[in-house]
């Protein structure tokens, strides 16, 4: 795939990570499992994971804007996306997907959001990148594509091109 930034080349290939995650997750799926991607990178990752896991498995997307803990400091995010969970959350085995696990705050918000839809039987977390260091909450992923150490002055996140190809990207924090 063609991505403009050379940094991408130094990072793991997103499709490879997704294939590895799918292989690790698949044996543990039950009839009760549902897939939930977190906006925006997690939704993209979940869309790519879904056909590799089980195309018949219900899947949804979650926006955590209304549950973030930084509303007081930065207000509402410019682009709030609709949450779509076209299944009962009550009693389900939820596989929550995000692109990067870093401070753990987004996952905390996502769990609060999910519980407002019902009481899941369990929630497991799958991430493409487990960013090492600076975890601020007692949260860990159940499935990890790759664990990476990223310089403090940079963000790592998933990008998607016009053909829906995924790639990882490093961005300097302004």
């Amino acid at each position: 795939m063609n991505l403009p930034d050379d940094d991408v080349l130094t990072l793991p290939n997103a499709d490879t990570l997704i294939a590895q995650l799918a292989a690790a997750i698949k044996p543990l799926l039950t009839e009760n499992s549902v897939l939930v991607g977190m906006h925006t990178g997690g939704v993209w990752a979940a869309e790519h994971l879904h056909p590799l896991l089980n195309p018949a498995m219900p899947h949804g997307s979650l926006d955590i804007s209304f549950y973030r803990d930084d509303f007081e400091r930065i207000g509402l995010h410019a682009q709030v996306k609709p949450t779509r969970l076209p299944f009962e959350v009550e009693g389900r085995d939820i596989l929550l997907v995000d692109d990067v696990l870093y401070t753990g705050r987004s996952v905390r918000a996502a769990m609060n959001a999910l519980f407002d839809y019902g009481r899941p039987a369990c929630i497991r977390l799958a991430v493409l990148i487990d960013r090492i260091g600076d975890r601020q909450l007692p949260i860990a992923a159940d499935f990890v594509g790759a664990a990476l150490r990223v310089p403090a002055h940079q963000h790592i996140h998933l990008v998607r091109d016009e053909d829906a190809n995924l790639g990882l990207k490093l961005v300097d924090i302004k």
Partner: protein, 316 residues
């Protein structure tokens, strides 16, 4: 330095006082955010923690059921504490000025005022007066503006019609006295609706209404031809006494929406009304309860739109 008292210096929305002068991007952002709040109303727990610990005062100097209730529900679904004040019945009858009332409530750590007042400009006056951390939402001031109603109407139109750029919209009735109509017209033109029509007798139109970018029709049958959206306005009974109209019966004959008049609009046209309706005056019951009516969805969408407005203001 900004000339628009609703905006912060960075262009973000601080108060919502009128739709007039707001950029399209802000209107679209509110509608998009409201879309996300629709999902909250479908949750098992119909509440998000966004405005937890905030005190929102509903200051209603004029009676209202629908608007006040939906603002209250919206605030509660955002986890704010809501205090409803029906002020015509309290301090003002004892002679306290509007700004003294506001100062007292601000001293009770108010974070937001939702204001309904019979006087045009009341919400502006409060917005200019309050401390920088307090936000003001105009819930209707005199004949001037009712921006959240205008926005929920746009949300409803977008839900049913998808886009704005290919629509014909007709607003029918007492435009002269209607803050709702003014807010709708500003919103429709800002969002790019190419043809906005107003249909009313001359006595119920503001002078130079054409300057707001609308086409004027006095004949309802002509005006409804091929429209996608019909917005009916409430005929206020007191206008009858002001001799602007001969009688409710005659008004209904010429400007009441019946099935046969509605048949002139596009077959998939939707019928809207901000409420409260006068059945048999501006709208026939068969239309109000008919399959083209979206009057009750308007009320439901009003909650999500008001949640969007309050959460965007509180975060700016």
């Amino acid at each position: 330095m900004t000339l628009n008292p609703q905006l912060n210096t960075d262009g973000s929305l601080r108060h919502l006082l009128t739709i007039d002068g707001l950029p399209r991007a802000i209107l679209t952002h509110i509608l998009d955010t409201a879309e996300s709040f629709i999902a909250v109303s479908e949750q098992e727990v119909k509440k998000v923690p966004l405005l937890r610990g905030k005190a929102i005062f509903n200051l209603f100097f004029e009676p209202s059921t629908r608007t006040r209730t939906t603002f209250e529900i919206a605030a509660k679904r955002l986890s704010a504490d809501v205090i409803n004040l029906n002020i015509s019945a309290s301090s003002q009858s004892k002679g306290e000025t509007l700004l003294d009332t506001v100062d007292n409530l601000a001293a009770m750590q108010a974070d937001m005022f939702v204001v309904r007042h019979a006087q045009s400009g009341a919400a502006h006056m409060i917005a200019r007066h309050v401390a920088p951390h307090i936000h003001v939402v105009n819930a209707g001031d005199g004949r001037h503006a009712h921006p959240t109603q205008g926005l929920l109407d746009m949300f409803t139109i977008r839900k049913y019609k998808g886009e704005f750029h290919n629509l014909r919209v007709a607003i029918v009735g007492d435009v002269l006295h209607s803050r709702v109509a003014r807010s709708q017209i500003h919103a429709l033109t800002t969002l790019g609706v190419p043809e906005v029509r107003v249909i009313a007798p001359q006595t119920l139109l503001p002078t130079a209404v054409e300057q707001m970018g609308v086409h004027v029709y006095h004949d309802m049958r002509q005006g409804l031809r091929d429209v996608d959206v019909v917005i009916m306005l409430r005929l206020q009974n007191e206008r009858m006494r002001g001799a602007r109209l001969p009688s409710a019966q005659e008004y209904f004959k010429y400007y009441g929406l019946t099935q046969d008049k509605l048949a002139l609009a596009r077959p998939d046209a939707i019928v809207m009304h901000p409420g409260p309706m006068n059945r048999g005056v501006e709208i026939d019951s068969a239309v109000a309860d008919g399959k083209q009516s979206v009057i009750l969805p308007q009320v439901t969408y009003g909650i999500a739109v008001r949640m969007a407005v309050m959460s965007i203001l509180a975060g700016n």
